[in-house]
Symmetry: C2
Subunit: 301 residues, 2 copies
């Protein structure tokens, strides 16, 4: 039976920073917004949560703040780090903070081999008391999972979900890919989609969850899309998603993290600058493009 | 005037590990071998020195061990980290340990923009009392310097060298690229070549330094190549380099770090396994390919 932790909308909030420290007030407020909207889970400390830029202590603190302010909604946190011993420490802290799941991308400096990545997941699994989501994100890790490796890792007993970031763009072909994976992995594993502009396709093609970036700021807008697909109204989901296409374009051009951070700053959800240096929110032409759609963004919720 | 720090052979030793800790005895012995061979500088804590896999404290300790055992030969250490505050701390520790230079690659999780990378170098520069080597290595950082950015960063007053990893394969075209760069950057900047199989081409095309991987274990063999080019005997340098082609092939196939670590283990320079988990030395077919050339490797020194 699939854990409901890995179904529906998993919303990924920013971890707003203030001069190298977590802006706790703003972070709590973002978590509170997700709890109030009734998302299915909160993916704190994902890529959008800048986990790789935080100290071990900051990651422990953020995990604690997230679970304490989630109003019972399950929290998942990213545990990836270049250094293996750091992964284990972050995992221990997260579990002590009461998270319901962890998410691991093979963060590395030297591009790892498939054998090394498998060994990483296998070893980390031994320390887990909560289910693990495999996070496949070549853009940040430089490592691309083959299907063979993904399937092998998914057979580890602690694995509860796969977060895919690559998926064919049309629903029938995406469906084939999801079906292929499902045939090879245990039935208990949920398959989720990351990369917001592919969410409607992914969900329509049979993904169980949307690991959502815009959901971190605009959970109700993201829930609308999830609900439309789940009620069988794919046309409505596609329409809702198409309305967000100008935003997806900015994601693809400048990186979703910079775009979301800029929106959060513009709308005063967070102090500016909220990203860990040297990352910065949009300036110049990029900012101008965002400002052109600002009025539409204000309708998101 | 160019700093002699960035001329000739800069040898990059492994940082051998023992169950998550630095194998200090083996590390000191590797440094001692480089000092005895009379390399021009020691690039401790480069990619070959696994810097990104060490704690801040381990990096401080390794920098100290390197300077203490280098017998007066200048030591350069890598200061890159995903977290900016870690870069600053590592830099402070390295300078306190008495290093003669630092080397910075734009290590990151989110692929940085050119502006972000420039801001990183600009800010780090403010904390430097020793010259900096710009380390361009897209394979590990996921970031590719444009020439424009490289030139802009090289104009920062603390920059002393550029470590190139990409260079055209034939000497005339490589020469054009080096000349082009030299025309745009201050005369004081040395241009060095990384990626061992390009060393003879790079040096023959006018590079000032070879940032050498095999030099970390076999400094005399690497010095032979440098000396041959410097005495104008490019034919001899090419012959010496060609003799190492089976080794370069393994570097390209399995990563130079894994290959060098395996050689160090086979020859008992270090305990096994010496790489930080989950990285591992060669096994199976890869190990077999290395064993086939083992006798030739024993002639390296």
């Amino acid at each position: 039976m699939k854990s409901s932790m890995f179904e529906g909308l998993s919303a990924f909030p920013l971890t707003p920073m203030l001069q190298g420290e977590i802006d706790e007030k703003a972070f709590i407020s973002l978590i509170g917004n997700l709890a109030a909207a009734g998302v299915n889970s909160i993916g704190a400390l994902g890529s959008t949560g800048s986990y790789a830029y935080l100290t071990i202590e900051q990651r422990a603190r953020a995990a604690k703040l997230a679970t304490e302010n989630a109003n019972g909604i399950p929290v998942m946190v990213g545990i990836g780090a270049i250094r293996y011993e750091d992964v284990l420490k972050v995992t221990e802290d997260a579990q002590n903070a009461g998270v319901s799941a962890v998410m691991l991308a093979p963060v590395s400096y030297q591009t790892p081999t498939a054998e090394e990545v498998y060994a990483l997941y296998e070893n980390v699994s031994k320390y887990l008391s909560v289910p693990l989501c495999i996070y496949d994100n070549p853009a940040t890790t430089g490592f691309e999972f083959s299907d063979e490796l993904l399937i092998e890792v998914a057979k580890l007993p602690t694995v509860g979900s796969i977060k895919l970031t690559r998926l064919p763009e049309d629903i029938p072909t995406a469906k084939e890919r999801i079906s292929f994976l499902r045939q090879q992995i245990p039935e208990s594993i949920s398959v989720g989609i990351g990369g917001d502009w592919r969410a409607t396709t992914g969900l329509s093609a049979g993904c169980n969850a949307w690991y959502s970036i815009i959901g971190g700021l605009f959970p109700r807008t993201a829930l609308d899309i999830v609900n439309a697909v789940q009620s069988g109204d794919i046309k409505r989901a596609e329409m809702l998603s198409r309305a967000l296409e100008p935003l997806w374009q900015l994601f693809r051009a400048y990186g979703s993290l910079r775009v979301m951070a800029t929106i959060a700053e513009l709308f005063n959800y967070v102090e500016s600058p909220c990203l860990p240096f040297p990352l910065r929110s949009l300036t110049g032409d990029a900012l101008h493009r965002l400002e052109l759609i600002q009025e539409d963004l204000r309708n998101l919720q």
